[in-house]
Subunit: 283 residues, 2 copies
């Protein structure tokens, strides 16, 4: 396993971890100061800015962009909403390309209002991702399907295991022509009895576009915004990174913590310092 102290380029921060409180320029500066070598910004961070300007600042601070977060949902009861979602995601893809992002992160959407049919929603999501694939290849930005914890199946994403996300990749890109893969987030997949198999397969097929860390708290009080800092929960983070790296993964380890009542209300510098020390000590 890599010693992350020797791999600044692998130390990544997803800006959601700071709760989107400060302008992206400040976040970029603080990230670089804290020792991160990579960053994953969200669309809301741009908020009217020219992507080229943000990209210049990122270059200036020596930060690479891992993934651009994130797609709007592909799943909707009406076809016009589904078309609008694809159009919106196409615009985000262009921004991702201007930022120089490795990937555009896809949270595909849950079971939409007015459609009690998870199988149909899954097909809508596959179709939506498929509709973006050529554009992503042309833009040089890979589409990263993120399997979301099954507790998010109704409200956030109908792709809920690594195996399922990889099956979708095989359907959409049977030749492995590239431009399509998965985002592995320890929080979403740690419980999966088939995790080892999934990681081996994902790495063998060249599908792993990134790896997110946080922790699962024993007493989780919210289905989205109660993630723990690495080391404060039950996830065997060293083991999971070991599985990935043994299978050939050499990409970033990215902190992504949604924590409405704890980390999002702490000072940003404290959050960044804690993330960095935990990245180095327990991930």
């Amino acid at each position: 396993m890599r010693d992350l102290r020797q791999h600044r380029e692998a130390l990544a921060l997803n800006t959601a971890t700071l709760g989107h409180r400060s302008p992206i320029e400040e976040v970029i500066d603080r990230c670089a100061e804290a020792g991160f070598g990579a960053i994953a910004p969200w669309r809301r961070d741009l908020d009217g800015r020219r992507p080229a300007d943000v990209a210049a600042r990122l270059r200036d601070r020596g930060l690479v962009v891992t993934g651009y977060c994130r797609s709007t949902y592909f799943t909707h009861a009406s076809e016009s909403e589904r078309r609008a979602a694809i159009d919106d995601n196409a615009r985000a893809l262009d921004e991702a390309a201007e930022l120089g992002a490795v990937s555009f992160v896809l949270v595909v959407g849950g079971v939409p209002e007015g459609l009690r049919d998870i199988t149909a929603a899954r097909q809508q999501a596959i179709d939506g991702v498929g509709a973006l694939l050529e554009r992503a290849r042309a833009a040089g930005v890979s589409l990263a399907i993120e399997p979301i914890h099954p507790m998010g199946a109704a409200a956030r994403a109908v792709v809920n295991t690594l195996a399922q996300a990889l099956d979708w990749c095989d359907v959409l890109d049977p030749e492995r022509a590239g431009g399509l893969g998965v985002m592995v987030d320890a929080y979403h997949v740690w419980w999966d009895p088939a995790l080892e198999t999934g990681i081996t397969r994902a790495c063998r097929d060249g599908r792993v576009l990134g790896y997110h860390v946080s922790d699962w708290l024993r007493e989780t009080r919210d289905l989205v915004t109660d993630r723990g800092m690495m080391g404060d929960g039950v996830i065997e983070l060293r083991r999971i990174r070991g599985l990935l790296e043994d299978a050939g993964y050499t990409g970033p380890v990215e902190v992504e913590i949604f924590s409405a009542t704890d980390w999002w209300v702490r000072p940003e510098r404290e959050v960044l310092q804690t993330c960095m020390s935990r990245l180095l000590d327990v991930c």
Copy 2:
């Protein structure tokens, strides 16, 4: 698919649905009056009563006992706690036998405090179930391993998919000598992309000891006690019962709703009537 109106014996109520507010004698009477033909009591419902007395009242009201709820957790950091859990579950098995229950429902336990190792916890659970199996066979009560939604992996149970529960059955009972199976709860498994495969396998192997229904609310606010009434959420309940019955399932359809802020604070008769009408109309 069966017309449940013609199958009173298949209409089951898990007493947790009423929030354990009234003495079991009253719950039994109300269940029978509401048209249920089967019931799943919890250990707390007995509360010092002789199981034989409760069994007599159940017979008197024409209610069969589907599953006795439920095991204490098998997973603990210390061996002495694990031994104590097996002893306690053995006592519960005897009570289940006295009640005439078809099965003893196993919620196996999560990742215990002091052990950040889900693989080890899983082995503890398998060992614990295995330690009870001969006693269960002798008592004529089957052990029903309940795969719990992955959001319960840390705090409640490390068996999180139907396939995994069936794998455990195969390990513990490779000859299919009986006395061991699974409890399928729509709330826990509805999201699983491998659900169809799992149900087919479970029925083929004669492993399905029961089927629970409730619903997944889009805006779920709690990881345990915010289940919805059937029809109020996103689960395709007809489809799942269809899969089970097409594969040969002929057992009960049991309502189990944990709902701290909604159904548990409504009058019991209203809850029972709603359960019954939804069982007949949407399940």
